[in-house]
């Protein structure tokens, strides 16, 4: 090995603590890149392959009852490649292993034996036979939640008829990679399942022979979806069509997209922060090293080493640090990818989720990590180039302190000499002080950005479950019922109060913007489900007007006072002009609210209900469940406390991990920055501090001079970091916003204090480590060395 390279290795070994502090920060950047990019790619590829093999549809639509003869007309729409007409219904399940009623979406399997689109992957058993009234297949998540397999049975209420069915197979479907029941906000595989039965069986049960109520389409490559959807809706309208949607609004796919988007944001935003901080640290440490080794550099030049060779030597040093960071980052990235994979396996149901460890991801991670180290080094090494050998070997002139504005300001404050030294040092290297402070700020910001989500979830839960949805359960009717049905509901055992609402599929138009949604029509006196405007006041839909979720209003670029054109999808083509009378904060879905009388008036029928919200006497819960399971009119039940429990569990599961991970990442940055700053200060000022010790200053006083600057910088950095964190949180809320959900931007004082505490703690720990070095300083040796 060349002598210069030996120096390199010994330098790294000597600077191990600083090198490791930098490498650790760098490794987090590499880890997140490897993990997020790797996971995102694997997930995207798995999804695309699955969609492709299973012939995932492009367009979905539904109607009340459309004749099968319509299929040919749909197939004739230009651009349509395949059409599949089917039957989709909701039903209540009575499971032998659970007293609560569960709910299922039931889909038909065509007479041909297999769907032409959205093919089912049979994991176990077989598909149901044609005409077999008692055979079903279930989605794998549901089967796993109950430990069901072929041969197991339960009962299902089909259009009021309770019948025993037997599982013949367990399947996966591209439509249900992520399964979430209607009205739910989290998957609950125990209480919501997907069932497939032979078409003739369901058709007979729901009186839909020769008809369909759900249709899926695939189009030829490159077809514009909008005209196809328009034609499809026009064809279905006479049969109670409820509008159509494409993949972007298909629930399972939309959740998957949301997840991919988050991974993408994570891969693009987070690593650069860590890489920039490590570049800064490399610059700082190498800059100091080069300054300390001026004489050696001069010597090497005198010996005939070229500037390039010497620069290369220091760049190699930074690459060495970078390489350590990259390797740690790789290992952590590998572990994190596997952890992510296990999370995805839990929530997303793919036939296979291949986490290929793609070399390219590791190469990109390594390239980014090494580049960061190199860029940081480059800026420091520039100084080597300019150094003339004769100048390099003579000791550097004392740093020039100027009497600038800042200095005069300091003097006005009349501090004691040690404090003066601290302030002058900040004033002398303002850029370095600012960057150090910024690094510490980033650390605080990361904690705020990582932990604010729990504040937001708290708010969201409070709004969703305490203020807005105060019902204990939602009962869904198989078909719309007149309002009088509420009396029957209130007569169910355990029901103390019932209120109804009607969901009406509409298309809203504002200028060229349109949105297909469901309007919730309810009576003004309803109290179990309430909506709120931004200031937490209860907002009641007025007699003639529409109240919109704020995000929906934003989508339509509309505000209070604007007139929307409302097209009722189950009616004629008439567009009704309705003013927006209010907007409400809403975190799940995109809804609009209307007064029941107004809606019924437009629809031209007596008020009808599609669901009832009920308040339950908990003691009689079991009785109610039995009644619901037996009731033909109820096609579904959502038990709110279960929804809440699912949500709480999921959050609690991730809260501990998230807290640890973010605190760890932030502490790494804080320690990396503060420790390196302190070490550099110590090295620059060793003589000065030793002189002070010789003059009779105590160790404490000397430490104050050295560490005081860092404490001041940390003190400045924390509030700045908290503000930055709030900004990052706002950015995250914005980027997570989708049609499915939105997070409120809430950062509590606890989160701010926690962030400040972690950063202050990291500063103190770093300071204590360096303080030990001050205490051990050999005064004679320090004074003897020539600087």
């Amino acid at each position: 090995m060349r002598a210069l390279d030996k120096k390199l290795f010994r330098d790294i070994r000597r600077l191990w603590a600083q090198a490791l502090a930098i490498a650790a920060v760098l490794s987090v950047g590499v880890m997140i890149m490897v993990m997020a990019f790797g996971t995102q790619r694997s997930l995207t590829e798995t999804r695309d392959t699955f969609y492709d093999r299973a012939r995932f549809a492009d367009i979905w639509s539904s109607a009340a009852r459309a004749p099968k003869t319509l299929v040919e007309e749909i197939a004739a729409i230009p651009g349509v490649a395949r059409v599949e007409a089917r039957i989709s219904q909701f039903a209540v399940l009575d499971l032998p292993d659970m007293s609560d009623p569960a709910m299922a979406q039931i889909l038909s399997i065509p007479a041909s034996g297999e769907p032409v689109m959205n093919a089912l992957i049979v994991k176990e058993g077989r598909l149901p036979g044609f005409g077999r009234r008692d055979e079903v297949v279930v989605n794998e998540a549901f089967a796993l939640a109950h430990d069901y397999g072929p041969g197991d049975g339960f009962s299902v209420t089909l259009n009021g008829q309770k019948r025993e069915v037997r599982i013949t197979g367990v399947v996966l479907s591209p439509e249900f990679i992520y399964t979430i029941g209607p009205g739910s906000i989290m998957p609950d595989d125990e209480r919501f399942g997907i069932l497939w039965m032979a078409e003739d069986v369901i058709a007979a049960a729901f009186n839909l022979s020769g008809a369909f109520n759900s249709v899926t389409l695939s189009v030829t490559r490159g077809t514009d979806l909008e005209p196809v959807r328009d034609d499809l809706e026009a064809l279905l309208k006479p049969y109670g069509g409820t509008g159509s949607y494409a993949r972007d609004q298909q629930v399972s796919n939309a959740f998957l997209d949301g997840e991919l988007e988050q991974l993408d944001v994570m891969a693009r935003i987070v690593p650069p922060i860590f890489l920039v901080v490590s570049a800064f640290l490399v610059n700082m440490v190498l800059g100091r090293l080069i300054q300390l080794e001026r004489e050696q550099i001069g010597l090497l030049k005198a010996l005939g080493y070229s500037t390039g060779e010497i620069a290369a030597h220091y760049l190699k040093l930074s690459l060495g640090i970078g390489a350590i960071g990259v390797v740690i980052g790789w290992l952590m990235g590998l572990a994190a990818s596997q952890a992510m994979a296990s999370v995805y396996v839990e929530y997303f149901h793919f036939p296979y989720l291949v986490f290929v460890q793609r070399p390219s991801v590791y190469v990109i991670g390594a390239a980014a990590g090494l580049l960061a180290a190199l860029v940081g080094a480059m800026m420091a090494v520039r100084r080597v180039v300019g150094l003339s050998p004769a100048v390099a070997m003579s000791p550097p002139a004392p740093t020039r302190f100027r009497r600038g504005l800042f200095d005069r300001l300091i003097q006005v404050m009349r501090p004691q000499q040690p404090t003066m030294m601290i302030l002058r040092a900040i004033g002398r290297w303002p850029l370095r002080a600012a960057l150090t402070s910024l690094g510490i700020s980033i650390s605080a910001a990361i904690i705020v950005a990582g932990l604010f989500m729990f504040d937001s979830f708290d708010e969201l839960l409070d709004v969703a479950f305490v203020q807005a949805n105060r019902q204990d359960a939602i009962l869904e009717f198989a078909i719309e019922r007149p309002e009088a049905v509420l009396d029957a509901v209130e007569n169910l055992p355990g029901v103390m109060r019932a209120e109804g609402s009607l969901s009406i599929p509409v298309r809203l138009h504002h200028g060229h913007l349109t949105r297909t949604i469901g309007i919730e029509a309810a009576r003004p006196g309803n109290d179990l489900v309430r909506v709120f405007d931004g200031d937490d006041r209860v907002e009641v839909a007025p007699e003639h007007g529409l109240v919109l979720a704020k995000r929906l209003a934003d989508h339509l670029d509309a505000d209070i006072g604007d007139i929307l054109e409302v097209e009722f999808l189950q009616e004629g083509d008439t567009r009704y002009r309705v003013p927006i009378t209010g907007t409400v904060a809403q975190f799940f879905g995109l809804s609009a609210y209307m007064d029941m009388e107004t809606a019924s008036g437009i629809l031209g029928h007596m008020p009808r209900l599609s669901l009832a919200n009920v308040e339950i006497d908990d003691a009689r819960r079991e009785e109610l469940f039995e009644a619901v399971k037996a009731s033909p009119a109820i096609s579904g039940i959502t038990y709110m406390s279960e929804v809440r429990r699912g949500f709480d569990e999921t959050i609690a599961e991730s809260a501990g991990i998230t807290l640890t991970v973010y605190t760890f990442m932030a502490a790494l940055i804080a320690i990396g920055v503060v420790y390196n700053s302190a070490r550099i200060q110590l090295s620059e000022r060793a003589r000065e501090l030793a002189s002070l010790r010789i003059l009779g200053f105590t160790k404490g006083e000397v430490s104050y001079i050295l560490l005081g600057e860092l404490f001041i910088l940390t003190l400045v950095a924390i509030p700045v970091g908290l503000v930055m964190g709030y900004g990052m949180a706002a950015g995250m809320v914005e980027s997570f916003k989708s049609d499915l959900y939105a997070l409120p931007l809430i950062v509590t004082d606890t989160t701010y204090w926690r962030a400040a505490g972690v950063v202050a703690g990291a500063t103190i720990v770093s300071a204590l480590i360096v303080r030990r070095r001050i205490d051990r300083m050999d005064l004679v040796a320090v004074m003897k060395t020539r600087e």
């Binding site: 002598a3 030996k6 004489e295 010597l299 030049k301 005198a302 070229s306 050998p389 020539r786």
Partner: protein
């Protein structure tokens, strides 16, 4: 005298002006000098008399403000940075007052630093043997005395078989005992390898071991003395 007529360095009107803050410092004021192959030359003079500046220019470490300097028939003052690096690499050995060893490298490795980039070097072990440090090969600078460190520096300087050896106060930081050891080493190299050696010193005693002594004062040469008889380093009065 055959040697004497063979010039290794000569300069004409070399001037060096440093600008420090508001003041111009004239380190050299038009120096005309001639130094000869194989000779042991001592540059004497008070601090600030310009001898170090001249040595730095001759060694290719610094640029002259005006005037010309030649190494044999190559004009140093006309060389680019790259050419100067090459010149130092191939022809010049340096010894400094503060040894300037790389602290993280052992004696052998400090010498290897040079032998690795030289064209026809001696082995690091041979160079260290010439300065009497065979027993210190694997010691780090911090484990050696000042005299030993300086001898490592000399070994490092001569390992590439340079034509000239430039020493700036090589004994400046040493006591008389170790100083003599270092001078012995220099004298031996000069005699055995015929390396032209230029030594800057404050110590007037050292002049007696030189072939030629150049006295500096106020940025110029005040006097050049040729010694008819030289004394051994051990006889120098410190």
């Amino acid at each position: 005298m055959a040697n004497g007529m063979n010039r290794v360095f000569h300069t004409t009107g070399i001037t060096k002006v440093y600008r420090t803050g508001e003041v111009d410092v004239h380190a050299l004021r038009g120096v005309d000098a001639e130094l000869y192959t194989g000779e042991f030359t001592v540059l004497l003079g008070a601090s600030g008399s310009g001898k170090s500046t001249l040595l730095n220019i001759l060694g290719g470490l610094d640029h002259a403000s005006a005037g010309q300097a030649w190494f044999r028939d190559q004009e140093l003052t006309a060389m680019s940075e790259r050419e100067l690096t090459r010149y130092r690499r191939e022809h010049v050995g340096f010894v400094f007052q503060f040894y300037n060893l790389v602290p993280s490298l052992t004696a052998r490795e400090n010498v290897a630093l040079v032998t690795e980039i030289a064209k026809n070097p001696m082995k690091p072990e041979e160079a260290l043997e010439r300065v009497g440090l065979t027993h210190r090969l694997d010691h780090f600078p911090a484990e050696m005395s000042g005299g030993e460190q300086q001898r490592v520096a000399i070994a490092r300087a001569i390992a590439k078989r340079p034509e000239v050896l430039l020493c700036d106060e090589p004994t400046g930081a040493l006591d008389s005992n170790t100083g003599v050891q270092v001078l012995d080493a220099l004298e031996k190299i000069n005699a055995e390898l015929g390396t032209s050696t230029i030594v800057i010193t404050h110590n007037a005693g050292i002049r007696k071991m030189a072939h030629r002594v150049v006295h500096f004062a106020d940025g110029n040469i005040a006097q050049v003395v040729t010694n008819d008889s030289r004394i051994a380093p051990s006889e120098i009065e410190w």
